[in-house]
């Protein structure tokens, strides 16, 4: 489950630029497919992406979710995910998070960058 490889934090538009590479994407759960194998996630830049799960979810997923997986363009193949208790994201500033994600990609040589 745990990849030793560095994953880059991405938002919706950066996800497709990282196709085939390991990523972390955080967003708000829009809806869970009845099959339990697919989740629509509104990423930090408000783009809606699809999360493909490898096993059907057993629990009720809602609120903010962070997905660790492989980018497949507009989709991400989930290797693991984290959900958070409501009180931990009640004051979460999604806009600031998105700016931070963009800085990871724009500031050259920063420690989060995978190169």
């Amino acid at each position: 489950m745990v990849t030793e490889e560095t994953r880059m934090r991405v938002n919706g538009s950066l996800l497709s630029q990282h196709s085939g590479r390991p990523v972390v994407i955080l967003g708000t759960v829009q809806k869970v497919d009845p099959s339990g194998m697919m989740v629509s996630l509104k990423a930090s830049d408000d783009q809606v992406i699809q999360v493909k799960l490898q096993q059907p979810v057993q629990e009720n997923i809602e609120g903010v979710m962070e997905v660790h997986g492989m980018s497949q363009g507009r989709q991400v193949l989930c290797q693991s995910y984290v959900t958070f208790p409501q009180e931990s994201y009640a004051n979460f500033d999604m806009g600031s998070y998105d700016e931070a994600v963009k800085l990871i990609h724009s500031v050259s040589g920063n420690p989060w960058k995978n190169d």
Partner: protein
């Protein structure tokens, strides 16, 4: 202390400043003093920690005493003496070890909140055991606010850039001076020095022209300078000092400073209790 990286930097500057002082006292012990005196707390990624050499943690050429990391707990292993958290911060996976203090009794010190697949924030020093690197944690706390993750992402980027800037400034100011490579690794001295002199800017700038008194605070120096610069034999009156420093220091504070300067012997009263002259000229 942990909730603000600004504080971390403040501590770092002070620590560096003190290191500088002690080195000034005994330049011969410079080499031995190196490293152990650094007391700073720098946000880092786990990969940066793994990529550091065996000599210790470094960010942009600056020695780091303690690293702050934020990551996802992938596994928890509890033994009777220690708890090992396998932390994943997206750049790498590393064990963070917390030793259990026996005097804590049956309490788990909030450990029950540090579960698998939850985020935590840890501060600790780097250790290598049997060829495997880990972080020895002095504090691990659960992340109960997602903004902590954003904050950590930004703090790591900022710390790298800031320390790089300090390094660059130090190198450019060292040109032509006696600065050798042996002073470079101890760059926190420089960092502290820079921070310190910037912080003092207000006070020392004011006193720069007239030869400020050592050991006086900014306000005390300002009042002292007003008195020192007065050529009048009778000294300068309390009202004139108030007027001179209007908007800079409140009258009440000026009166307190005057009492202090009198009792310390820097100034004395002349024709009455409300006229002052400085003792050295």
């Amino acid at each position: 202390m942990w909730n603000s990286n600004g504080d971390g930097y403040g501590g770092q500057s002070e620590g560096g400043f003190m290191t500088g002082d002690s080195q000034f006292d005994s330049p011969a012990s410079k080499e031995q003093a190196r490293g152990r005196k650094v007391q700073n707390l720098v946000p880092m990624t786990l990969r940066s920690i793994q990529e550091c050499g065996e000599e210790g943690l470094q960010v942009a050429g600056t020695e780091v005493h303690m690293a702050v990391v934020v990551g996802l707990i992938r596994a928890v292993d509890v033994t009777s003496t220690k708890v090992t958290y396998t932390l994943d911060d997206t750049t790498a996976v590393m064990d963070v070890v917390q030793w259990i203090e026996s005097d804590n009794g049956p309490e788990d010190g909030g450990r029950s909140n540090l579960m698998e697949m939850t985020y935590c924030r840890a501060a600790g020093t780097m250790r290598t055991h049997q060829g495997k690197r880990h972080l020895m944690a002095f504090q691990i706390t659960p992340v109960t606010d997602l903004n902590v993750i954003t904050n950590h992402v930004l703090s790591v980027i900022h710390a790298g850039l800031k320390l790089q800037q300090i390094q660059t400034l130090q190198q450019s100011s060292g040109i032509g001076g006696p600065a050798t490579s042996s002073t470079m690794p101890n760059s926190l001295v420089g960092a502290g020095g820079l921070g310190g002199s910037m912080g003092l800017g207000g006070g020392s700038g004011y006193s720069g022209g007239g030869g400020g008194m050592q050991g006086l605070s900014g306000q005390q120096n300002m009042v002292y300078q007003v008195i020192h610069q007065c050529p009048d034999e009778a000294g300068v009156s309390r009202n004139a000092i108030h007027g001179n420093l209007t908007g800079k220091i409140s009258q009440k504070q000026i009166d307190e400073v005057l009492d202090f300067l009198s009792s310390e012997g820097h100034i004395y009263t002349t024709i009455d209790d409300d006229h002052f002259k400085s003792t050295d000229g």
